[in-house]
């Protein structure tokens, strides 16, 4: 298992490098000029100097190398410094001072390090997406099990129909729809997510839950629709197998057969789907954040693209790529853990 894990981990490095290269080339080959916005009174030679200061005229490989160094060498140092100095978890460790003022990736919009802003925005996204994902798994797995066990019952038919609708309604429409129903007509939940809300006591906690309900509902509907279908298909594949008949012939109770024997085997593909679906959800989160005005990383990406803030866009796209590769890795490892055959291939 360890060699398998290490091999997968090593394999993901070239993938990440390639993705970083693709993003870098896409952004740098496209026609654009960060100096297009500065006032016209600035003389051209000063403009040229400013361009050089931003590192625009330099050779592409050099630019790429500098970005890589900033991302993979400087940023981890800043992170470790922060962890040992301020964080709750590791704050008791002696303070380190690894970061000595090297260049970091600077946003053109705010002139502050890109990663600082990303770290500020990430919790909002993770809260909404994470809650929605967990909730969806908790809802989808029992639905999938039951509709496979009672195939073609009214529950199964209704489930199929609802999940078909669930993945046909795009999040930007279901978001608008729930706003119209629950926020405009019924007035139960706010339509705008207030990110300045600090959870300090029971009251503010309730308000936090209240404002999270709508975005989480939209994302959950989308994920549940896909997951419950996969769960059902995978259960159906296994329910017809010989080992199920054997288990029943041995005299095992029905709950035991379905929930232990069949469920464990059916979970193998479903776990992969759960892990592989995460990147999709971040894509959906970009839209959900836009609908409910959550200022997470998706919203940050949209504003950065509109402001032509290339370092920010490059870093954020890369952050998304890292998340995707990370969850692919988790999917692989989970697969290897659940199915011993995979480990030795």
């Amino acid at each position: 298992m360890l060699t398998f894990a290490i091999r997968r981990l090593v394999l993901s490095v070239p993938t990440l490098l390639f993705i970083a290269l693709v993003i870098f080339l896409l952004l740098n080959l496209a026609p654009n000029d960060p100096m297009a916005q500065v006032p016209l009174t600035i003389p051209p030679e000063v403009k040229q100097k400013m361009r050089e200061a931003l590192g625009i005229g330099e050779a592409l490989p050099l630019q790429f190398w500098k970005w890589l160094v900033a991302m993979f060498w400087t940023e981890p140092k800043v992170l470790i410094d922060w962890l040992t100095a301020d964080s709750l978890l590791l704050g008791w460790l002696p303070d380190t001072a690894l970061y000595q003022g090297e260049l970091r990736v600077i946003s053109w919009q705010t002139r502050s390090p890109v990663m600082d802003i990303v770290v500020q925005r990430l919790p909002q996204t993770l809260w909404v997406v994470g809650t929605a994902y967990l909730l969806a798994i908790v809802i989808a797995v029992p639905i999938g099990i039951y509709s496979a066990y009672r195939q073609y019952s009214w529950f199964d038919q209704a489930g199929t129909f609802v999940s078909m609708i669930g993945f046909s309604i795009p999040p930007f429409f279901s978001g608008v729809l729930v706003i119209v129903i629950f926020s405009v007509q019924l007035g139960w939940f706010p339509s705008i997510y207030d990110t300045t809300l600090q959870v300090t006591d029971w009251d503010s906690f309730l308000r936090q839950i209240n404002q999270m309900i709508l975005p989480v509902m939209v994302l959950t509907l989308q994920i549940t629709a896909q997951l419950s279908r996969f769960m059902r298909a995978s259960m159906l594949d296994n329910l017809g197998q010989d080992y199920v008949r054997t288990a029943r012939a041995k005299g095992l109770g029905e709950p035991n057969v379905v929930l232990v024997h069949v469920l464990r085997n059916s979970m193998i593909p479903v776990v992969t789907v759960i892990a592989l679906g995460v990147p999709n959800i971040f894509g959906g989160a970009i839209i959900t954040e836009q609908v409910f005005k959550v200022n997470g990383i998706g919203q940050l990406l949209i504003t950065a693209i509109e402001a032509n803030d290339l370092p920010m866009v490059q870093t954020l796209t890369f952050v998304f790529a890292v998340l995707i590769v990370l969850f692919n890795l988790i999917a692989d490892l989970a697969y290897g853990m659940l199915d011993p055959r995979i480990r030795y291939d």
Binding site: T15, I19, L26, V180, A321, N328
Partner: protein
């Protein structure tokens, strides 16, 4: 003396059609999809209001912000008019005409992007499955594409290349080419994987060996012997591809990275409507319903097609 068969044996496609007709979801999907396509393409012949028409002066005040006609059922004081059954927007443009116009663009984008992605996917899948030397690199490439954060990249690319293409092909044509290319380039991976798997399996079959033994060239082997046999998965992924393409296009337009504002698509109309959601809920809801209905019908169509084309299921 042997019995002569009374009726000629049914062809494969007659079988497929028979199965398809008995799939309720598929028939519903096909009917709704054809109806929507007919409505947006033939509708303007019946409903001849110009979607781009902007009333001026007093007309503008009279015509703007008309509610749909059904609002009069529960709100007698609402501003409604039979001349605009679905109302008008805040500039006095007719919503029904704009929905038809937007539908034409959305469906055209969906179909074109689907064709591009299926062609690309089939091409790469066949190359990877047929030529062993290309298999490794091409499948690595597919995996890498699957690991790319697609929506962010589409957003970035759609902004970066917009100017250049708009200068070349005009604002609408440029954006159309841009969006179709972007969607096509980022959605071929599933088709390629399926096609490769099928080609790998077919390559070991006897009829391929037989064809090769009489000196059939590779190109002919692929076009005459392979392609007809992998047609059904391609058809199914093509159908489902329409749905993905329409959703992606609407998402782009919704985020403001799609077509220009005076060139409505369903996603764009939805986006425009969101701002005045509380007073005019019908504005985002109608385009949204149309997008969802199109995608739903296409998904059901694909589902039915998969069952109809699968010979193992067809007999049942």
């Amino acid at each position: 003396m042997t019995d002569t068969p009374l009726a000629p044996p049914r062809s494969q496609w007659a079988d497929v059609w028979h199965q398809f007709r008995h799939h309720r979801g598929a028939m519903f999907g096909a009917f709704v999809f054809l109806f929507l396509v007919a409505a947006v393409y033939l509708g303007p012949l019946v409903w001849t209001v110009d979607p781009q028409f902007l009333p001026r002066g007093r007309d503008f005040l009279d015509l703007r912000d008309t509610r749909p006609i059904y609002v009069a059922l529960w709100d007698g004081g609402a501003k409604v008019s039979w001349a605009h059954p679905l109302g008008t927007d805040n500039l006095g443009r007719d919503t029904l005409a704009r929905l038809m116009f937007g539908g034409r663009v959305s469906i055209a984008v969906g179909l074109t992007a689907m064709v591009l992605s299926v062609l690309l996917g089939t091409f790469i899948g066949i190359l990877a499955g047929f030529f062993r030397r290309l298999d490794g690199p091409l499948m690595r490439l597919t995996d890498l594409f699957l690991a790319l954060p697609l929506l962010p990249l589409i957003l970035v690319a759609s902004l970066l290349f917009r100017e250049a293409l708009a200068a070349r092909f005009g604002p609408e044509g440029g954006v159309f080419i841009l969006i179709v290319t972007l969607i096509g380039l980022t959605s071929w991976m599933q088709t390629a994987r399926i096609v490769r798997g099928d080609v790998l399996a077919l390559k070991e079959r006897e009829f391929v060996l037989a064809a090769r033994s009489i000196g059939t060239t590779d190109t002919r082997l692929i076009t005459r012997h392979m392609l007809p046999n992998i047609l059904s998965p391609i058809l199914v992924s093509a159908t489902l591809g329409i749905a993905t393409a329409i959703i992606t296009e609407s998402a782009l337009s919704f985020l403001g990275f799609g077509f220009p504002p005076d060139f409505p698509t369903w996603g764009r109309l939805l986006n425009d409507g969101v701002v005045r959601l509380s007073s005019y809920p019908e504005r985002p809801i109608w385009p949204g319903i149309l997008i969802s209905l199109t995608v739903l019908s296409v998904n059901y169509l694909g589902d039915g097609l998969r069952d109809a084309l699968d010979p193992r299921i067809r007999g049942r």
